[in-house]
Amino acid sequence: MTRWLEAIDRHVPVVFPLPAILLVGSLALYPIAYTLVISTRNYDLGLSNYSVAGLANYAKVLSSSQFWSAFLRTFLFTGLSVVVSTTLGMVMAVILNRDFRGARWARTAFLLPMVATPVATSLVWMMMFNPTLGVLNYLLQLVGLPPSLWVADPQLVIASIVLVDVWHSSPFAMIVLLAGLRSLPREPIESAMIDGATRLQIFRLITLPMLKPVLVVVLIFRTIDALKAFDIIWVITAGGPGTSSETLYVYAYNQAFKYLDLGYGSAVIVIFAAIVAGVTAAWVKAREREWT
């Protein structure tokens, strides 16, 4: 027994991470490799075939106009969602950084949309979007605006889903940016105030540049998250109307698990994963360049 403990003690850097690494290896790393293999096979559960396909699936994906539409749509969705949620999160952080009665309660209240189950809240949004009976059109009408079809309108469906994603994810941007604001040194801001700078000048010229490292981290996290958005889109529109909200994730899901074309679906999944990894790496590189 003691010999065992001694052995563990001598090899902590191996023994401690080993079980986790083995589990991650078999549950995640092995499936990644397996997905790569399947992506080079003709493997359709409906046809129950299995044969080597080489890179044929990839060629098919890259010549599919539906794939490229989904590709562009994913970046449109991601761009809108990241910009709006980070901006809104910044406004919330600046507000909560002030001292007022109930500040703690307000911060907690803002956190709720982030932790609430996305499937459940998406269904609530779907109900609110309802063109004839939904509360959103009622509110529009109250302030004298024309009703909207929201997610039923192919032109508006992406914007509507961005609205839901912004609702879900701005609190995350807020909480990280707020922690960033709280960690800034006070002296530069205080001396600018004494010099008579306005709030806006202070924010633009002093706070924002100092906050930039944290801001970039928020942008990276939000980009990864938005690229991977699935639950809200699947529940609210399932990619519709038609294919007007079909992002890469939805397209990959449909190919692999709706049409059960695992070979082609896997090729889409590999390309999708490479995009997520590539965009993340590009962000991290840009951040490092900024640093040194």
Binding site: P19, L27, T108, T117, T121, V124, M127
Partner: protein
């Protein structure tokens, strides 16, 4: 975060201060309205009869009824679904803590950046990357439509999250403390168990809760790997849309039942929650 210094007070003219306060509270009210309205509307609708729920213009004042909640539990084995979600989340989080805590400690202490990067990649990649092979393997092993299969798959989501949060916490524990204990004849495993873990309690609480939420809210793993025997709460609520006549009262009651435990949990531990979310991000 509460102990941090507050933002400096702004010294302006009196009129400027009044305008400033008006703008400030106006923005705050608008933001609170936007972020709380959908949740409030969910609870409000769940207390209406189905006729009231579908009324237009929408009803704001009405005699509340709990009939929808009774129906949700009477017409569906909703209690079983709660048990399913709890079994999956508790076992995924349990295994993740058991394996993730020592792994994170080793990664933080011995600067195993390659291992850390591997975990990060698993965390960043979309869940569907793992699902085609898991689907194929699960079908062969008969794990499809079993709770253990779903719980096992949830570890892919929870374990990297736990490690990611805990590496940040462990890095903050002063080495001197451990070195002193080592000189006193404490074993390395003993240091981890008796010194490092007790000092990391806030981090462990944060990792546990965030891991629990991630599993509880997870949809796609159960959607693909699950079936009749593994209906977790998100799947149960999702099935409400597939009915021909949408029942808004029942739908919102179900949505409230699934969301409420998470919201309550978050309110209780909100301080730890914020800490866990920001540790990885702000340290970068």
């Amino acid at each position: 975060m509460a102990e941090m210094p507050n933002a400096p007070v702004y010294y302006g003219s009196r009129a400027g201060r009044v305008a400033d306060a008006a703008l400030f509270y106006g923005c705050l009210a608008a933001l609170l309205l936007f972020f709380l309205f959908p949740l409030a509307w969910m609870v409000l609708t769940s207390l209406k009869t189905n006729v009231q729920a579908m009324a237009y213009p929408p009803l704001w004042v009405f005699a509340p009824t709990i009939k929808n909640y009774i129906d949700v539990f009477a017409n569906n084995p909703f209690f079983q679904y709660m048990v399913n979600s709890t079994i999956v989340a508790v076992s995924a989080v349990g295994v993740s803590l058991l394996l993730g805590l020592p792994a994170a400690y080793s990664m933080a202490r011995y600067r195993q950046t390659k291992l850390g990067l591997t975990i990060l990649v698993v965390k960043i990649l979309p869940g569907i990357v793992y699902l085609v092979p898991l689907f194929v393997i699960y079908r062969q092993l008969g794990l499809i439509n079993t709770l253990w299969g779903v719980a096992l798959a949830h570890i892919i989501v929870v374990l990297p999250l736990v490690i990611w949060i805990m590496v940040g916490f462990f890095e903050d524990i002063p080495r001197e403390l451990e070195e002193a204990a080592l000189i006193d004849g404490c074993t390395r495993a003993g240091i981890f168990l008796r010194i490092v873990l007790p000092l990391s309690k806030p981090g462990i609480v944060a990792a546990t809760i965030l891991g629990f939420i991630a599993s509880w809210n997870n949809f796609i793993f159960a959607l693909i790997l699950g079936g009749k025997n593994t209906v977790t709460l998100p799947m149960a609520v999702y099935s409400f849309v597939s009915f021909e006549d949408v029942n808004w009262g029942g739908l919102t009651a179900a949505a409230t039942v699934i969301t409420l435990p998470i919201l309550a949990l978050s309110l209780v531990v909100q301080k730890h929650l914020a800490g866990g979310l920001t540790i990885g991000a702000v340290k970068g």
